[in-house]
């Protein structure tokens, strides 16, 4: 059953158009010119209940604007959106109890007080009894490996501890639809892994639907089977992560440790040279030429070791946008 439906969703922001310099400043002061900037254009998709979907795109692609429309923070300029049977922008209390939005770079916890104080407020706002709130806090704190940190002022917590406390606050009312905007932004690798594990566990336990944006492809590959790819406000891919990498990046990465050092020219005709550092070379080789290229490499160079991998997904996406493949 679809829990999120977006049809022809669009958002246009009206922004001031000011020319640089004193003349531009004066003209802007007396006759302000505005222009419409389309941030999201004609985006349509549905997400089934319980799915974990990754929302990918470069900075300014329209991911966060779309999330803001799905949560009801901003009103769409065009199209229709429905989440759990509600029109988000009406922001009915029943709808707000169903969803949560976690923004990695923003916080809802009160900075100078321990997270427990903010959690008390959240419990009262959502009408969760004190006993039930304690039970849920204990359960989520255990899943997130939080203990004494909940009694320390938020400003004294590390970024990772703060993010986990933010997640706890965002999930105290047991939302069934989670919108996560860069939930691991700025966290170290260990903290990223723990947050990912927690989200996967929460999804398994509660069957919650998750729409996740992240710059860390590790988040996407660890949690999502399906991805939406947005570029310049338009959705251009909706499908499995595996298919995306196969369709849009028909390469494999070949890493070799060689018995001697060679100049870059030596690897002409062996695919695209990605990096060359001493004895170690990394090449991107088209999937249909993989076997032949490896055979020639083995015949041409003294290969000590050889690995074949899928290139990192962030590289695929980055390459895609750099090369204008999505234009």
């Amino acid at each position: 059953m679809a829990i999120i439906r977006a049809r022809g969703l669009g958002k246009c922001f009206r922004v001031a158009d000011k020319q640089p310099g004193l003349g531009g400043t004066l003209r802007h002061f007396f006759a302000r010119r505005l222009k419409d900037i389309p941030a999201v254009k004609d985006v349509s998709f549905t997400i089934e209940s319980g799915e974990v979907v990754g929302f990918l795109g470069a900075n300014g692609a329209g991911k966060t604007t779309t999330l803001k429309m799905l949560t009801g923070l901003i009103e769409p300029s065009a199209g229709e959106v429905e989440v759990a049977g509600y029109r988000p922008f009406r922001r009915q209390a029943a709808f707000l109890r169903t969803i949560t939005l976690v923004m990695g770079q923003k916080q809802q916890l009160i900075w100078d007080l321990p997270p427990l104080d903010s959690l008390r407020v959240n419990a009262a706002v959502y009408g969760i009894s004190e006993a039930e709130a304690r039970r849920r806090i204990d359960e989520l704190a255990e899943m997130l490996e939080l203990g004494e940190e909940l009694r320390r002022p938020v400003r004294k917590l590390s970024l990772g501890q703060r993010m986990k406390a933010e997640l706890l606050a965002a999930l105290l009312h047991r939302p069934s639809v989670l919108f996560l905007d860069e939930p691991t932004l700025g966290l170290d690798v260990n903290a990223q892994v723990r947050v990912r594990e927690f989200l996967a566990d929460y999804n398994r336990r509660t069957g919650a639907t998750v729409l996740l944006t992240s710059h860390y492809m590790g988040d996407i590959t660890a949690l999502c089977q399906r991805v939406l790819l947005i570029h310049q406000g338009q959705l251009f891919y909706d499908g499995s992560l595996q298919e995306l990498t196969q369709q849009l990046a028909p390469y494999r990465e070949v890493c070799c440790d060689l018995g001697a050092v060679y100049p870059p020219e030596a690897f002409r005709g062996f695919g695209e040279l990605e990096s060359l550092a001493g004895h170690r070379v990394r090449l991107l080789v088209s999937r249909d030429q993989l076997t032949g290229t490896i055979s020639r490499l083995l015949l041409t160079f003294p290969v000590l070791d050889l690995e074949v991998n899928d290139p990192p997904v962030e590289e695929i996406i980055g390459r895609l946008f750099r090369e204008g493949a999505v234009a």
Binding site: G72, L96, I99, Q107, S118, N122, V125
Partner: protein, 262 residues
């Protein structure tokens, strides 16, 4: 009902804990609201006081009461809302089933509670300095005065909330509050009791909500002659006018909200 009471209790206690973190700053704010006491010193000159229909003792009581009223009707919602809207902190509030302004209201009340010891100390000091606090009105008048102070606070909170809605249209709407400060200072009775004003200016002041914010509660608290029912009706009428206007602007403003910084 129980849920509402619990929510109010939790919001107030958490906001009070938050305000206590800033107690030194709040003490300075309390000190910065000494204008009525400065005006008392100015008006205490015999020549100036002679123009008033108040005795020196009544004048002292009025300005001391105005000081108390001013302390418990300070409103700063426009500044915190503007910052929250610009920094993206408003967005998480909007995603919870509680109108964000209840949080701001709770923060103001908690801040008032934090001020109490400082205000009491200043009032006591002025009293001991013999600034004419003789013959204070009975406790019943004090209780009624406290109720009216809080109604005056609600009116001021509502008026500033209406202006705060400009934050949805302008990124620097808090400047409008400074524009309102001048009519507030002169027409509310903070710099002089309205009785000292020429009749034309008094009529102009009466046509604004400002006298309800200081003059009416201060005169009541100082035991002066007041039209209690008329004063309460004026407070209620202004609130009845401002509340729907606020709700209308809130709905229109949300349509323009771009959730910046979030």
């Amino acid at each position: 009902m129980n849920r509402t009471l619990r929510l109010a209790r939790v919001l107030l206690s958490v906001q009070y804990a938050y305000m206590l973190e800033y107690r030194a700053e709040i003490a300075l704010w309390a000190l910065s609201g000494l204008l009525p006491l400065i005006m008392l010193a100015l008006w205490s000159g015999a020549a100036a006081a002679a123009d008033l229909s108040l005795s020196p003792a009544e004048l002292s009581r009025y300005f001391l009461a105005a000081f108390v009223v001013r302390q418990f009707t300070v409103v700063w919602v426009i500044h915190v809302f503007e910052e929250d809207a610009l920094q993206g902190r408003l967005s998480p509030y909007l995603l919870q089933p509680l109108h964000p302004f209840w949080r701001y209201l709770a923060a103001h009340i908690a801040e008032q509670a934090t001020r109490v010891p400082f205000v009491l100390a200043i009032v006591l000091a002025v009293w001991l300095l013999g600034a004419g606090a003789s013959g204070w009105p009975p406790p019943s008048t004090w209780l009624l005065g406290l109720l009216v102070i809080h109604l005056a606070f609600l009116l001021r909170f509502l008026l500033q909330s209406v202006i705060t809605m400009a934050c949805f249209w302008s990124e620097r709407a808090a400047a409008l509050d400074r524009l309102l400060l001048i009519p507030y200072l002169f027409l509310s009775g903070l710099v002089a009791p309205l009785e000292a004003f020429p009749p034309g200016l008094r009529r102009l002041a009466a046509a604004t909500p400002f006298p309800s914010m200081v003059d009416f509660p201060a005169r009541l608290l100082s035991g002066g002659e007041v039209d209690l029912l008329g004063g309460l009706a004026t407070l209620a009428a202004w609130m009845a006018l401002l509340l729907p206007l606020y709700l209308l602007l809130w709905r229109a403003g949300l349509r323009r909200y771009a959730a910046m910084g979030a």
